[in-house]
Subunit: 299 residues, 2 copies
Amino acid sequence: MSIIVLGTVALDSVKTPFGARKELLGGSAAHFSMSARLFTKVDLVAIVGKDFPQEHISFLRHKGLDLSALIIDQGKTFRWEGEYSGDLNTALTLNTELGVLSVFKPCISEEQCRIKNIFLANVDPDIQKHLLLKMRKPALVGLDSMNYWINNKRQELIRLLKHIDIYVANDQEARALSGENNIIKAAKALRGYGAKMVLIKKGENGVLFYSDKFIFSLPAYPVEKVIDPTGAGDTFAGGFMGYLAKVNKISCLTLKKALAYGTVAASFNIEDFGLNMTSRLKPQDLGKRLIKFKDCFSF
Amino acid sequence: MSIIVLGTVALDSVKTPFGARKELLGGSAAHFSMSARLFTKVDLVAIVGKDFPQEHISFLRHKGLDLSALIIDQGKTFRWEGEYSGDLNTALTLNTELGVLSVFKPCISEEQCRIKNIFLANVDPDIQKHLLLKMRKPALVGLDSMNYWINNKRQELIRLLKHIDIYVANDQEARALSGENNIIKAAKALRGYGAKMVLIKKGENGVLFYSDKFIFSLPAYPVEKVIDPTGAGDTFAGGFMGYLAKVNKISCLTLKKALAYGTVAASFNIEDFGLNMTSRLKPQDLGKRLIKFKDCFSF
């Protein structure tokens, strides 16, 4: 079954200890799509400005994404500029230019309204809600957010969580939204807000999955040379949701496998700048690394 | 096969968000022994002062430990006072009184010199070396240290690592001693110092194992109510080394199982103050939790 993802398509400028890149194709929806496409058809819902390079549009189309809901609007494309230092675990945002993102109203076709797997990647919770209300047959709805919305649209975000199957957050966001330090307590509190399942991403420390029925915990895939972690969380979500959309079944086994696919997808993402690595992946690359990954902890 | 552990036996005063306790029985060798004893005979090498309560001696003996190399010296027992707040991941040391530890020279019997499994828990690297030189047939030697020695006896510690099979460190220590931020690079650098295997403990984020042949990574066992993390690392090491001493074989499978036993042992330790929880454990308690733990990530 296909998946529809709402989020940003951006031009990212990034500096890490391994170099600097200007105006790379990025954004939450772009990173998500690049791993989700390895499992299923992906419909991308986003907005860019007139300044958005045509080659990036061709590139995304060439990767098999359905771009019929990608709006090209008057104005400038959303830009993010950030820097990583030390252990590359935390990005320092240097600059954000919202551009067309400030007028974004998702617009999808009748056919797209019937897609059952939905991922609301990081944008304003009001925009996430706007899209969700259009969806006629939601079967599996995932949502990601960020500290900015947790601080500035807390109530809107919490209200939205009641309609969400899987809330995806990093550990800082989970602690900030729940007010709990212990990560299990934080997950439980987020479950209390209404999200049926809670997935907490911990970067190099792996991932925790919480639901009433199961608690799972996976380490990260060991990567020695982290070049650029931008988009790793979205890439993770794309692998996770993409796999679940493909198998069209929620069970103990499929959830664990989805977490593992998310993990290996993210491990590729951080090995090069932007989408350089994930855009070149084929499904069998994920499969091969999944076997190595399992070998890191299975006994 | 039995195991000999060198380290501290201490009186710990600790304050956590869940309460405060004064002069609990603690120390690296005590915590290590409490989990290692679940797998094999443990010979404890440590020093305490005349003020050390007789009931603690009886308690340790009652737990099956061989105390023939526990020195009771003139002077005061080593005392540590610390506090945890927030996520309970980092202890703030409020006070340390070395007492008899400052004159400690390990003294073991002829028979003890022939024990093949050796764990040098956290004490002065010169004392660790002193014991290691006495050992006639070392087959598996583990070593733990701490930031204080990394800062103050760096060269002594590095020289010692050449004679060590398994260097056990937490992530901060691994980064401090190696100078590397990335945890895999840190492990590789520590391997370069001579330790054949490197085990990096990451608290609530699990553990990484590095050797030339294998890299393993396990998450932590999910614990919702962390009462007191004091000694969790030593408890981990006790489960890990204890299991390896019992099976008397180093392989991919036994190393992974040892890591898993260390993990579940540590998960019990943090659920109550001091040795309260681990001293009550029976081998089957570890076995039961190991099955639950495996279920958190195996697929």
